[in-house]
């Protein structure tokens, strides 16, 4: 693989992720198929069958088992990985909460897909949002190249002794998992240099028996939970450092916890994450050509939530429009709520509008983004309350 041409290939997003995972030399991969994630685990299975990847490939009988295999493998001291989506992630939820509590640093790809019912296999962020509070670190990616790079960073982040938490790389189903893009791969020696073998302090050993996640009563439980939260807070700095270190090797810099795009002098700021960011950047380019002062903040790391960086990047903005591909039923979108909470009471805080868009694969095009910006400008002219939110492109005519 040292040939330059072989290191730059046109790959399906899933294949790119599988190659990144392979380069990280996982000890255990657990597997249960579900669209749109299946191509990742199929590609890894093929690598194992062809003798290109030495790993324990465990075919589980459900996502609950697949997550439990990760948990067990991680306790035993192995680097472990799986991928899932939608209902599969929901079924994994209990195990993921427990694994974060036991401080097990495995990596999961979440191929973001909507949740039933009604059944839909189209992309949105609702599945990942169900794990928002579990203690898993969530990093959203925009492209296949970013997915490739981020998976390599993900193991390093998870296994960092100051962090020690599971990491989920979130990539939109179909849009990223099934589209073909040019992807630059890293030489194995470079990945090995960046990511040495996992050597945990604590691991299951018959000669030194231990228990994970022991009982904690009302006198210690809060401290255990705070320790996870604290590692997330400390983790922000470490994650940035790891991204910088990886960028030095790859020559590609996707930013830190956030990426800012044309935010200078921006009065209207869009906030988005995932593949919609690519479309939003094109829309911002067009709007800038029209003389509009529009910029974009892309959230890469969603948990821990990089509010310090966002507040800094939003200085001078008059209104922030958040594109949320999820909703907390009976309230608003998750990212919008996070931002409103963190901006509240800040001097010169911009107005914040939460836009629920793209649920179940509803298209968010450049035109959609322009309309969101236009409505934000109208809102500025007319004045609004801080709590404004709306569902974009909702067809009220077909409501029952």
């Amino acid at each position: 693989m040292s040939n330059k041409n072989e290191m730059e290939r046109v790959l399906e997003g899933s294949e790119a992720v599988a190659l990144a995972v392979k380069a990280c030399r996982p000890d255990v991969i657990s597997s249960y198929p579900i669209s749109p994630q299946t191509h990742i685990l199929e590609a890894l299975a093929r690598m194992v069958a062809n003798g290109e990847l030495a790993t324990e490939y465990v075919r589980a009988e459900s996502e609950f088992s697949a997550a439990s295999v990760l948990s067990g493998a991680s306790v035993a001291g192995g680097r472990s990985y799986t991928a899932s989506t939608s209902q599969g992630l929901l079924l994994m939820t209990e195990v993921i909460y427990a694994s974060a509590g036991m401080r097990l640093p495995f990596v999961i790809t979440g191929a973001n897909r909507s949740i039933s019912a009604p059944i839909s296999i189209q992309p949105d962020n609702q599945d990942a949002m169900s794990l928002r509070d579990s203690g898993i670190i969530q990093i959203y990616v925009e492209s296949s190249q970013e997915a490739y790079d981020t998976h390599i960073a993900a193991f390093k982040i998870a296994e960092d002794p100051k962090i020690l938490l599971p990491v989920m790389v979130c990539m939109d189903g179909w849009i990223l998992t099934h589209s073909y893009e040019r992807v630059k791969l890293l030489e194995q020696e470079k990945v090995d240099g960046f990511l040495p073998p996992y050597r945990p302090t604590n691991f299951m050993d018959v000669n030194d028996p231990k228990s994970w996640g022991a009982i904690a009563d009302d006198d210690t439980y809060m401290e255990f939970r705070y320790a996870i939260h604290d590692s997330m807070q400390i983790g922000k700095k470490r994650i940035k450092e790891i991204f910088v270190k990886l960028a030095e090797i790859t020559g590609r810099n996707f930013g830190g916890l956030i990426e800012t795009y044309k935010t200078t002098n921006a009065e209207v700021l869009l906030v988005a994450m995932g593949s919609v960011v690519g479309t939003a950047k094109d829309a911002v380019d067009d709007l800038r050509l029209d003389g509009k002062k529009v910029g974009l903040i892309k959230i890469r790391c969603y948990r821990p939530f990089p509010y310090e960086d966002i507040i800094e990047a939003a200085k001078g903005a008059r209104i922030v429009a958040v594109i949320d591909a999820n909703v907390s039923m009976g309230s608003e979108g998750a990212v919008g709520m996070d931002l409103k909470a963190k901006f509240y009471g800040k001097l010169d805080a911009p107005a914040i509008v939460d836009v629920i868009a793209g649920l179940g694969g509803r298209v968010v095009s450049k035109r959609t983004i322009s309309e969101i910006v236009e409505r934000a400008e109208d809102t500025l002219r007319l004045g609004i309350s801080q709590s404004e939110y709306y569902w974009k492109d909702l067809n009220r005519e077909i409501l029952p």
Partner: protein, 85 residues
């Protein structure tokens, strides 16, 4: 005491956790009725009934007061009384 990351503890440390403190009622063996059949020892879900010198002894450090022993005792030799502390 410091808490350990991930609540990882040495094996056997649950012995130090006296779950008997959860009890709000407690079984008391009336030895004059006891036939030493051993059913209580077998059914105790906390393994908190032991045989010492052919006598059945309840270990109140770990007995949670579930009452299974009294329910299953065919001789009616185990009485459940209110826990008083």
């Amino acid at each position: 005491m410091k808490i350990a990351l991930g609540a990882v503890v040495k094996g056997g440390t649950s012995l130090a956790y006296k779950t008997g403190s959860w009890r709000d009622q407690k079984p008391v063996i009336q030895y004059e009725l006891c036939k030493k059949c051993g059913i209580c020892e077998m059914v105790c879900p906390d393994s908190a009934i032991h045989v010492v010198d052919e006598t059945y002894i309840i270990d109140y450090d770990y007995c949670k007061g579930c009452g299974l022993c009294a329910y299953e005792c065919s001789a009616g030799a185990i009485e459940i009384v209110l826990e008083v502390k």
